[in-house]
Amino acid sequence: MKVRVKLFAMLRERAGTADARHEVPDGATVKELWDKLRREYTGLAGVQLKLLYAVNSEYVTLDHELADGDEVAFIPPVSGG
């Protein structure tokens, strides 16, 4: 199945992309997708940040199972205001 990946701020800069489509196996979790991204984007491999994860704009945990067409956002520590 295919999911849409959104990367922001320092993650976006390190990956060199803000928005990409990725193929993942059926039933893949957010964690499995993140591991895949760290393999494919070398800039993400060293990231030590405490991230939050959102699927279709709702915060989820790393073990959340993805569905086809999901929009998956990797959210580094926020600093609005």
């Binding site: 701020a9 580094p76 520590p77 926020v78 600093s79 609005g80």
Partner: protein
């Protein structure tokens, strides 16, 4: 009114929005770009947001505040893109029949916004730039480079 904008924020627009004949108190919080932070001399700030989710989370803060205090209306507008020194990056306005509720709701909204709403700030300072993560005080420019 929960909105992102890449233009200067018009405080009056928020005041008009929250104004109501039954509201005797309006509080606002305006966050502006300071010329210094932790000893660094700042030129400007760049804000990036997750559009859609950012507005949704701001609206959620408003709903939460309305559950905790008696407020009439709330508005939150956050700027994205480059924000020069002295200009507003965020404006929050809350109206209520009584001032205690208006103050508390406004304070809650900015405190929670800083923790939860997917918006990020990059400082452009003399000699470099740095992503700020206010949750932790971490500086992300210092994150170790990829090893493999």
């Amino acid at each position: 009114m929960y909105r992102l904008t890449d233009k200067p924020i018009d405080v009056n627009e928020l005041l008009v929005f929250v104004g109501d004949p039954g509201a005797g108190a309006v509080t606002t919080f305006i966050g502006t770009t300071r010329d210094n932070n932790e000893g660094r001399s700042i030129r400007s700030l760049d804000y990036e947001a997750y559009p859609g989710m950012a507005e949704q989370e701001m609206a959620r803060l408003g709903d939460e505040a309305a559950g905790k205090w008696e407020i009439t209306r709330m508005a939150i507008v956050h700027r994205v893109g480059n924000v020069p020194i002295g200009e507003a990056s965020v404006v929050i306005a809350a109206s209520a029949p009584h001032r205690d509720d208006a103050f508390k709701a406004c304070r809650y909204a900015i405190d929670e916004l800083k923790k939860r709403v997917p918006i990020w700030k990059k400082e452009i300072y003399e000699g470099g730039e740095i992503w700020i993560g206010s949750q932790t005080g971490e500086r992300f420019a210092e994150a170790p480079a990829a090893k493999s």
